[in-house]
Symmetry: C2
Subunit: 439 residues, 2 copies
């Protein structure tokens, strides 16, 4: 070990990642446990898989292209592996491996950390965490209803109200009908138009039009139909030629259910949303912050039918969504929904002097046995005037003082650092007294 080296290592973390210091970690734990609580209440079960998978798995789902964004490498045994950029391939692999045993419908969730090689920016990091919620085995819009209701309930649980965000949804077949039958686009052009529609709100109107006109067979005329399509609602979408009436009827039935569950001010039909063109096959949805300062999509999901088929001859339809911790935190921060995590939910026991050390340690043990957080000083000759600022800095409001005088009289001092008041209590009363405190 070269510990005596003069050149010191940098204390910076790897680009695009975060160090979670205790207050950051309290925030992360709070976010994860709130998500976990909501999803668990719907009967979803948590799973996890390894952070390394075979490279092949990601290529099979997303094509060769994906490799550009992957942390992929060859392991010491010559295997091509990648750090997971998303959870869905692992999920599909795991579900496929136990397809016959698992009771249906399969309701699963996970909060994995994921890696993408990209240039870090607002809401975009190289390492992030993402809640993944998936439901397999229900071929009916009741599944969509549950998933979207759940997606809303998560934001409600964080304190958001139904005007703070909106869920825009559509159905992939409506878009497919429009591109293939209304506009009569060839497959490559269809793909290019879909990609362009996906980034429509991120570019200027001029830029969008100049690019789209190159792709449309009857430029001007098609553009007019396109604008009409994009601004359609459920009442007039069938005015667009060649849209499948059965799909629209299904979507309408779904929307009636949304209204009955009281979500009509939050959930809206929007044929302009695209979302994962290759991947989704049915309903798609995307959740947006209504605050104009945060125009990015918060999260989204939809129905995918072909994923299990990568591993198995059996087809099982799935629907799910992914909610990233970075975008969620930005949303909560913008809407002033982040609590403060400065305070410690427990008590600091000041053990004042060598003679009371063992009695102090015993007392600390008794408090902990009752489930009370009790931190103590380990410097036996500490001065109270030095100890108190440390205890305050650690975020404690209450402190116990236990010295020789207290030991001799079987008593203890309870100090409120915020109000700067203290009282002497009989030692036997201390546990019940501490349990009454609000931290």
């Amino acid at each position: 070990m070269e510990l005596e080296t003069k050149i010191k290592l940098p204390t910076t973390n790897y680009k695009g990642t975060r160090d979670f210091f205790p207050n950051d970690m309290k925030l992360r734990n709070w976010m994860f446990s709130t998500m976990r609580e909501v999803v668990t209440r719907y009967g979803y079960l948590e799973y996890d898989g390894p952070i390394l998978e075979s490279l092949e798995l990601y290529k099979a789902k997303s094509g060769e292209e994906i490799e550009k964004q992957l942390y992929s490498f060859v392991d010491k045994g010559g295997r091509q592996v990648a750090i997971r950029p998303e959870m869905t391939p692992t999920l599909a692999r795991m579900v496929a491996s136990k397809l016959r045993e698992l009771p249906r419908p399969i309701r699963w969730f996970s909060i994995p950390n994921l890696w993408r090689y990209e240039n870090p920016g607002y809401g975009r990091l190289r390492e992030h965490w993402q809640l993944n919620v998936d439901l397999f085995g229900v071929n009916h819009w009741t599944a969509e209803l549950e998933i979207i209701r759940l997606a809303c309930d998560i934001l409600f649980a964080f304190g958001a109200n139904n005007k703070d965000f909106r869920v825009n949804f559509s159905h992939r077949e409506i878009l497919n009908n429009f591109l293939q039958k209304t506009l009569k686009l060839e497959p490559e052009k269809e793909y290019a138009v879909a990609k362009l529609l996906d980034k429509k709100n991120k570019i200027s109107k001029e830029e969008f039009e100049s690019q789209i006109l190159d792709l449309l067979p009857n430029s001007k005329q098609d553009l007019e139909v396109l604008y009409k399509f994009l601004s359609s609602n459920l009442e007039n979408i069938l005015e667009i030629p060649n849209i499948n009436i059965k799909v629209v009827e299904e979507v309408k039935e779904f929307y009636k259910a949304i209204e009955k569950l009281g979500l009509k001010d939050t959930v809206f039909f929007d044929p302009s949303i695209i979302r994962g063109f290759d991947y989704y096959t049915g309903f798609i949805f995307e959740i947006f912050d209504t605050d104009p300062k945060n125009k990015r999509s918060l999260y989204g999901g939809g129905r995918y039918d072909n994923l299990i088929g990568l591993f198995s001859n059996e087809q099982v339809s799935g629907i799910g969504f992914g909610l990233g911790d970075v975008t969620l935190q930005n949303f909560l921060s913008l809407h002033n929904l982040l609590p403060s995590f400065q305070s410690q939910a427990g008590i600091y026991l000041g053990v004042l002097g060598e003679k009371v050390f063992f009695s102090g340690m015993e007392l600390a043990g008794n408090l902990r046995k009752e489930g009370i957080l009790c931190e103590t000083n380990l410097d036996l000759n500490v001065k109270l005037s030095k100890l108190i600022p440390q205890v305050e800095k650690k975020g404690y409001r209450y402190m116990l003082l236990f010295g020789e005088e207290e030991l001799d009289s079987s008593s203890i001092i309870l100090k409120d650092l915020k109000e700067n008041i203290q009282k002497k209590l009989p030692l036997v009363e201390i546990i019940s007294e501490v349990k009454r405190l609000k931290f």
Copy 2:
């Protein structure tokens, strides 16, 4: 996407890793939350860092050798990085970066996943999780006392008793005295002897003796002193020539404290433990299963003085330990301390028929608002005879049945699937009734 390909992908996970299916995940969450609870009660704060760090960081701590066991690679920007094999370098980096701001002593913990490239075997995998507990800034055996007490409390919290495991401890300086002053070994031989002592219990007595005799200057005579050293206790360790009396006095004082805290049947002085020869500088300890079927060390730790010095000119002494999830699970399993995680702690609401669907969804929402786990069927025309086996397979004991008859009479049926009994209840009583159930 090549979804229609005939060749299906394998559903196996990467070698040396685990898929955590829901029951495995419940077990993992239970282990982690039990650990978290105990450590938090001592006032330790959770932190985390990125799973990728610069390769340099690990080399600086452990030398070039470490690379053989690392998942290291060059990222797309040309940086040499590694997936973390241990948490300590990240911990030291983070502590060093805020050394002046952090209130002392620094009590931190984390439960990271860690990767090592090795041949998987019993208790040894490529990906595992490890509780890391560390305390910085106390240069006194009171820190050792807290850390060892905490290490024991974790196993007690899992239901182990004080005979199920033992903590063997020593002090690095006693071993150093013995190798350098008693045996008068040169540095390379000192290192070789320490390494051999570390694996003494894993090889035969003959093998050990044949190898050790090659390393000792006065073979037979030294071997006799060595055996005497290894079997010494705190009463007779000073009979070995050249052992520093001051260190032994410190160890004795520490052990008196262990006795006073009621841990003398669990914690023992043992000069034969070696543990991380390069790394630790003071007290060291190792926790063993007392069951002869599981001879491997469960976990261990000790005091290290030089780690922060990799980043900063300031020296801060630290003490800590790491407890791996695989070894812990093996220990709990051997001692029959693993609970069953088959049952679901909630209720399944059977919504029977299209007409009651919305009322059913509303009821499910009301139950969830009260914090009750409530899963429902999404197939509106499900037959009860098909639904019940699914619900049982999912681990529910209690089920609510809600059909047209119930809707019309504002009632609901509560069914106990285990006892096969059911009763009809007024709908308004259902929440308080479900809250009384024991899952």
